[in-house]
């Protein structure tokens, strides 16, 4: 069964990407290492890191098509990327999701439509 791990990062975490010092490297390293762990564990089925929320554009279909600047929801944590993993059950998916380096943020785990 495939599960999406949707990663909601805090502004502080997302800001770490922008600098060019050791901290930005540490930030990216932690994600690369996590990705590698998913690959080595034989569960990686896809995913992508996303650019910052301000690069998002939203189309709302409430009445016709309204194009808005910015992310869909203006919340404290923002979608920073996602993984797709292929594991036997939700428990295993949660075990992998819990290791994700989204310090201070949150992850949502959702099964694909079977």
């Amino acid at each position: 069964m495939k599960y999406a791990i949707l990663i909601y990062e805090t502004a502080a975490q997302l800001n770490r990407r922008k600098t060019d010092d050791a901290d930005a490297k540490a930030y990216w390293d932690s994600w690369n290492e996590y990705s590698q762990a998913l690959i080595d564990g034989g569960v990686m089925a896809g995913g992508a890191g996303l650019q910052e929320p301000h690069t998002g554009t939203t189309i709302r279909f409430a009445s016709g098509r309204e194009v808005h600047d910015g992310p869909y929801a203006d919340t404290k944590e923002q979608l920073g990327g996602f993984y797709l993993i292929d594991v036997p059950d939700l428990d295993t998916a949660l075990e992998w999701a819990a290791r994700c380096p989204a310090i201070g943020g949150a992850v949502e785990v959702r099964p694909e439509i079977a």
Binding site: D29, E33, D40, D91, L94, A98
Partner: protein, 407 residues
């Protein structure tokens, strides 16, 4: 006079497990007993602040819970005239209403929670819920399971307990042995779930719940050496909990902890209990694990860590329980007792495929590689370990070690 809340909370922790165990045994239905005791507590929460706490809170709660069970039964009887129900009603009525103190059925309930007909992964959650009254949400997050799934599994299990009529009586002595083992393993799993979160940031407090369960088993079966062993093991580890984090929250590995930060009283109690276990002359896995921790705790009296005997105990432990965790720890102990090359050889014998996503394996590898001077490989292994770690303090610790290796 204090408000009604505190006495209710006290009564809850002190007697709810006992009330549930007693009523479930009488009634043959764990879920119904839990609901009835829950209702009685709600009633207490409403009444006690106004009427004052009764002289015997436990008897009061028992009376209300029983009335609730009887009311439900009367309603159910309209629909069915099942004979077992009549028998249950008779059993419940046979007790004098002010029956006090009522017999302690918690040990029997603990044993039932570890029944082989129940999925082993639910033994610990079932014990935590039925005896310690911990709610499903808290249990779920400790075992990294979604709350809805945990609730559903517990409900399904309790239905099976009722419908398949699992016995609420203590198993016969010849069946007790393996069942004690399951009970202790579930407590061990509970402690493990708590150990991963030493400062209890998730608010589950499972380490102390495991300690109370272990104490309960020892209190009820004082001659069971493995129960004593498990309690000693938990106390040794709890005695060091404070020292596992520095003041600023940084992870401090065992060998770098300052024994002055350890809890001498706890460690002393653990020693006494472990000696009691050893005097029964029936060694086992938990006694060995406790003895290993006892060795580590010798630093509290200014002794060096006795690596030779720790290594010898790991040999026995691995023979009894060749789990990945024990194998990795044994390799590290060997490296301190007989040199890093010997430890490495032991670690290399671990099935790397099975250990591929196992954090302690990568942490042990990193530690040994670093001491062998293979800093590049050590750095890689530290990073792998970090990527497999849930605890964020441990994650940062491993990353900083990786950083100092690649410098």
């Amino acid at each position: 006079m204090t408000t009604g809340l505190d006495p209710v909370a006290t009564a809850a922790s002190a007697s709810c497990g006992r009330l549930v165990a007693f009523l479930a045994a009488r009634w043959g239905d764990l879920a119904a007993a839990e609901d009835a005791v829950g209702d009685a507590l709600l009633a207490a929460l409403e009444r006690w602040p106004e009427d004052g706490v009764p002289d015997r809170p436990e008897a009061w709660l028992m009376r209300v819970a029983k009335r609730r069970l009887l009311d439900d039964a009367r309603r159910a009887r309209v629909r069915t005239t099942a004979a077992p129900l009549v028998a249950r009603l008779a059993a419940l009525r046979a007790d004098a209403p002010e029956f006090h103190p009522f017999p302690d059925k918690r040990l029997a309930l603990l044993f039932m929670c570890a029944h082989p007909a129940i999925d082993p992964s639910l033994h610990a959650p079932l014990m935590l819920q039925s005896i310690l009254r911990i709610d499903a949400e808290r249990i779920a997050s400790a075992f990294l399971i979604s709350p809805a799934a945990m609730r559903q599994r517990l409900v399904r299990t309790k239905r099976k307990i009722r419908d398949a009529r699992l016995s609420f009586e203590l198993p016969a002595e010849d069946e007790c042995g393996p069942r004690v083992d399951s009970v202790l393993r579930a407590i061990y799993a509970t402690y493990g779930a708590g150990w991963d979160d030493p400062h209890d940031t998730r608010g589950e407090g499972l380490a102390s719940e495991a300690e109370s369960l272990a104490r309960m088993v020892v209190e009820l079966r004082p001659d069971e050496p493995e129960a004593l062993g498990l309690l000693a093991l938990i106390l040794f580890c709890e005695g060091r909990t404070r020292a596992r984090r520095s003041a600023d929250g940084t992870f401090v590995p065992l060998l770098e902890q300052n024994p002055a930060d350890w809890d001498r009283a706890r460690i002393g109690e653990a020693e006494t209990i472990l000696r009691r276990a050893a005097s029964r002359r029936r060694p086992g896995r938990f006694q060995l694990e406790a003895a290993i921790q006892s060795g580590h705790c010798m630093r509290v009296d200014g002794h060096d860590t006795p690596w030779g005997s720790i290594d010898a105990m790991y040999r026995q432990l691995v023979a009894l329980a060749p789990t990945l965790g024990n194998l990795c720890a044994a390799a590290v102990a060997r490296s301190h007792a007989s040199g890093v090359a010997e430890g490495w050889r032991l670690l290399e014998s671990v099935d790397a495929g099975a250990a591929r996503s196992y954090q302690p394996y990568w942490a042990a590898r990193a530690h040994l590689l670093e001491r062998m001077g293979r800093t590049q490989d050590a750095g890689d292994a530290y990073r792998k370990a970090a990527a497999l770690t849930v605890d964020q303090a441990v994650q940062s610790y491993l990353r900083s070690r990786a950083g100092s290796c690649s410098r």
